[in-house]
């Protein structure tokens, strides 16, 4: 048995060449992914990218046109939902409004005809687990949004499923509740070691919660990787633009495989682009990586920038800059309050702007077509 075969067998959930169409629309296009036991995977993408459809196919709530699904080594492609092993939480909570929190959590346990005592014990255990030991007697409408979602989580976890599916579980909540609950869910997931798939369009949520992020666009995978990888080395302009904020500057490749011409400047990038000379490219750099003002001698990639606009955003300033010779392109930079004061940055000034070579990425311009 060689290494790849062994690792395939170790995967808890295998999604193999799954395709789903709705009439003319291809929602999920030949999608393949392996997920390890205990892993927390986020499907991240804009609305309509097929992430929810994929989740519903894993649950068996949609039938795929083609492809196979294996869970714990078993082919589940043709099993109806109630014969699969998963728990699911929806954005709408979908708590049964006529049942109390306790009855909601017990719902799946009663299906399994467990003894009454055992059900009661398990419900108490779960109420404690989600940090709501005292709300068992309450109806969903008497609970806050965050509490409802915790009960929904408890209900899904009650029968101890092997796989947890979370469909935008935090989208309906207030910003503050969302921030606390996403950490709680992550800790809970690590504690129980349950394999989890979360669908979200919120990149911050994905970055904070996931072990691995799958960025999806138009039914396909754009990039799979750890959160840091996705953010620091976006494989495509789509990922760069969708996860975080990205500046794109137009340019042409130079003779050297590590330099690009932007307007009248020659800029370097640490990673060689390996493209032939004179090809149209986009140079990408994140706003927080743009260094404004006072460069040291010998620094490369320093160009004069003209400050067009200054926005105050509380903890930092956002500058809109245009580079000389590149009148049509706008560069956004984020600058701390201290630095603003030290450099006396203001609208109308022209300052040196540095684009650090190791933080600059180059994409051939035909890749720009897939951007959202």
């Amino acid at each position: 048995m060689n290494d790849t075969e062994k690792s395939e067998l170790e995967q808890y959930l295998r999604i193999i060449n799954v395709t789903k169409t709705f009439g003319e629309l291809v929602a999920v296009d030949d999608f393949s992914l392996d997920i390890q036991e205990g892993e927390f995977v986020c499907l991240l993408g804009p609305s309509g990218c097929g992430k929810t459809t994929l989740l519903r196919m894993i649950a068996g709530l949609e039938e795929q046109n083609a492809g196979d699904l294996y869970q714990a080594g078993k082919n589940i492609s043709r099993l109806p939902p109630h014969q699969r092993d998963f728990g699911i939480v929806f954005q709408s909570y979908a708590l049964f409004p006529n049942l109390t929190a306790t009855q909601n959590i017990a719902y799946g346990l009663e299906s399994r005809k467990l003894p009454r005592k055992q059900i009661a014990d398990r419900v108490t255990e779960l109420l404690n687990l989600v940090g709501l030991p005292d709300v068992g007697h309450k109806y969903p409408s008497q609970l806050s949004g965050g509490q409802q979602q915790r009960i929904a989580l408890a209900r899904a976890l009650a029968p101890s499923p092997g796989l947890m599916l979370l469909d935008e579980p935090l989208s309906a909540l207030d910003a503050r509740v969302r921030v606390t609950l996403r950490l709680e869910i992550k800790h809970l997931q690590k504690r129980l070691g349950i394999t989890t798939i979360l669908v979200t369009h919120d990149q911050e949520e994905a970055l904070v919660m996931a072990d691995r992020i799958v960025v999806m666009n138009a039914g396909r995978i754009e990039q799979v990787g750890r959160p840091e990888e996705i953010y620091r080395s976006p494989a495509t302009p789509f990922v760069a633009d969708f996860v975080g904020v990205m500046n794109f500057l137009p340019g042409f490749t130079e003779q050297e495989s590590d330099s690009v011409r932007c307007g009248s400047f020659k800029l370097h990038c640490a990673e060689p682009h390996n493209l032939s000379v004179g090809e149209k490219v986009s140079l990408a750099v994140r706003p927080e990586d743009v260094r404004v003002g006072a460069a040291n001698d010998g620094d490369s990639n320093v160009v004069p920038g003209h400050i067009d606009e200054v926005e105050f955003l509380g903890s930092f300033y956002r500058l809109t800059i245009h580079l000389e010779g590149l009148e049509d392109a706008r560069l956004v930079a984020e600058v701390s309050i201290n630095r603003m004061r030290d450099l006396e940055i203001d609208v109308g000034k022209t300052l040196p702007v540095r684009l650090p070579p190791d933080l600059v990425r180059v994409y051939p311009s035909e890749m720009m077509g897939g951007m959202a």
């Binding site: 309509g48 990218c49 649950a59 709530l61 109630h82 014969q83 728990g87 699911i88 209900r155 077509g369």
Partner: protein, 584 residues
């Protein structure tokens, strides 16, 4: 790495897969669900499609039913001057009634939703009273008031010429008024206050606001009300039967051909003709309702009643009071008529009209109460069976994954009964169930077939009520149930039904109240001795026993009111029980 396309274009590989599907294994639950689908399809087929087909087929055979004659019957209808008038008459009646009813109902609805005139809840309640009696009762009352010997005629010496189109239109307006009112009150209550505030801030005059904001926002409601009134008026049998005189309309024509002349071929022909305008009105109404749904946005700031100018308020109040007084006085006439020995010659008090019951020369022991008991039995069966069937079928159609084509067909079949006039339905049942060769012949002449025809006559509105209630429920309840390995029927009984209980109760009430007053589908289906009260009113009037007809009408009215009260208490009880999980 490749360039990604927008998902709207199909890649060649995906194109090949479009028709394929990895089908899930069929579980025991699926088999049960599909079995229920088959049952539902069979139910709709046997009691809707098949009878209507038989009726349509019958119109293409000769009088004896032996020889296929194609469209000869239709040609005969249109070329015979004496019969062809009924189509024109029906249209005249329906159109005139439509214009008058919608106008009156709109003014009334406006007054009770938008102005601050006193007694609005009372006026609203009175305006809905005509729904509690069969449509022919108002015609009877009008004879007592405006007929040749009516109170009004004798007091003023002025005969309005009631028998004929005047009497029919008056009765139809009276009968259809509450139906139009319900639609218009709903439409006027859905207005968005912000539109009015915007118009006012732009200094539009109140007349300009009325024509640029109010009317456009209720235009779909007005259209819907117009279609409903048109359909009610063109299909009504009771009023033209009682007060129509020689003025034949399609509904009375069908009755005369079938019951009077035993000409089933011509009866079937005319009933097919009656089906055409109702189908057209039905389709137009569906289109309008779809537009209206699209118009309603999720969040509107509701517009409450506002004080209008004193003159406007006074005029509207006078109008509403006039309408209310007129409605109440008709019930006054029913009461007086029921307790008077021999109107208008011997006005002394009696209760004998309640205890005697003569119809077709036979005397029934127990009087009116026995007949009323028949009605209650029939209405109860129709209500229980109808509510159960309609709600479960709406559940199957709304809450099943997949089987899309089957669900679409069943949905369409479930809403079509609204387009089928009661007369047409009743006659089609005769063609199917009175045929000894059909396996369902045993149903003919039973209370059961009367209940089933009533269920189908009133099928659509409850179905749509159930369907809407189910659509408003979180679509993920079923997914959650499945993920927790609960069979669908468990989630249905444990969650769906309790949450939809208010809708279930209103469905039951709709069936019960309509079953008490319906006539048109039953005129062909009853057998002597098993008359229901609404039907008996017609037979008594036919026999010249109008005082007994009044007595029975009063009993129907009181039964309707009492059952309305019971349903009200039931709703209150359910609300109290469910309040715990509704309060925030």
């Amino acid at each position: 790495m490749t360039t990604t396309d927008l998902p709207t274009k199909t890649t060649p590989a995906a194109k090949n897969l479009q028709r394929k599907r990895v089908r899930q294994k069929v579980s025991a639950e699926d088999i049960l669900r599909r079995g229920l689908f088959v049952l539902l399809a069979a139910w709709l087929f046997v009691f809707l499609i098949w009878p209507l087909y038989r009726s349509l087929a019958r119109s293409m055979y000769d009088k004896a039913g032996e020889e296929f004659v194609g469209i000869a019957n239709y040609v005969k209808y249109f070329t015979t001057a004496s019969t062809a008038v009924s189509l024109r008459h029906s249209f005249n009646i329906a159109l005139v009634s439509m214009v008058i009813t919608v106008t009156l109902a709109f003014i009334f609805a406006y007054a009770i939703t938008r102005t601050t005139i006193p007694g609005r809840p009372f006026l609203h309640a009175v305006a809905r009273l005509p729904m509690f009696v069969p449509s022919l009762v108002q015609a009877l009352v009008f004879i007592y008031m405006f007929g040749n010997n009516g109170i009004f005629t004798r007091a003023t010496g002025f005969n309005i010429g009631l028998y004929g189109p005047v009497g029919i239109v008056m009765s139809e307006v009276f009968y259809a008024f509450p139906h139009a009112l319900i639609i218009l009150v709903a439409a006027l209550s859905m207005a968005d206050a912000r539109l009015y505030e915007a118009a006012q801030s732009l200094r539009a005059s109140s007349a300009r606001i009325f024509f640029t904001v109010t009317l456009p926002s209720v235009r779909y409601g007005l259209m819907s009300a117009a279609f409903v009134v048109f359909t009610l008026a063109i299909t009504d049998f009771g009023a033209p039967k009682v007060v129509g005189g020689d003025y034949d309309v399609l509904a009375t024509d069908i009755y005369n051909k079938v019951v009077g002349q035993q000409d089933f071929a011509m009866g079937a022909t005319i009933s097919t003709l009656l089906l055409v305008p109702t189908m057209v009105a039905f389709v137009l109404d569906r289109i309008v309702q779809r537009r209206q749904l699209a118009q309603v946005t999720a969040d509107i700031t509701p517009l409450g009643p506002k004080r209008h100018s004193p003159l406007t308020q006074f005029v509207l109040l006078s109008f509403c009071v006039l309408v209310a007084v007129f409605i109440i006085s008709t019930y006054g006439v029913v009461i007086v008529g029921a307790f008077t020995k021999y109107w208008p010659y011997d006005l002394s008090f009696t209760t004998r009209h309640f205890t005697r019951f003569y119809v077709a020369g036979a005397h029934h022991k127990g009087g009116s109460f026995i007949i009323l008991w028949n009605s209650i039995k029939m209405a109860t069966v129709a209500t229980i069976a109808g509510t159960f069937i309609v709600f479960s079928s709406a559940y199957l159609i709304e809450k099943t994954r997949g089987l899309n084509w089957a669900r679409s067909i069943l949905y369409l079949l479930s809403i079509t009964p609204l387009a089928v006039p009661g007369m047409v339905l009743g006659l089609s049942y005769v063609f199917l169930f009175n045929d000894p060769k059909t396996p369902f012949n045993f149903l003919y002449g039973t209370m059961g077939i009367m209940a089933i025809s009533t269920i189908f006559h009133y099928y659509t509105v409850p179905f749509l009520t159930a369907s809407t209630a189910l659509k408003q429920m979180d679509p993920e309840f079923e997914s959650i149930g499945e993920s927790l390995e609960a069979p669908f029927y468990r989630t249905f009984f444990r969650v769906t039904v309790p949450v939809a209980l208010p809708a279930v109760i209103s469905i039951a009430m709709y069936f019960f109240l309509n079953a008490l007053v319906t006539i048109s589908a039953l005129v062909f289906l009853f057998v002597p001795g098993k008359e229901v009260a609404s039907l008996a009113v017609m037979l008594l009037d036919d026999a010249g026993e109008s005082a007994q007809a009044m007595a029975l009408s009063l009993l129907i009215f009181l039964t309707g009111l009492a059952s309305r009260g019971i349903f009200y208490l039931l709703t209150r009880g359910v609300e109290a029980r469910t309040q715990a999980w509704k309060q925030r």
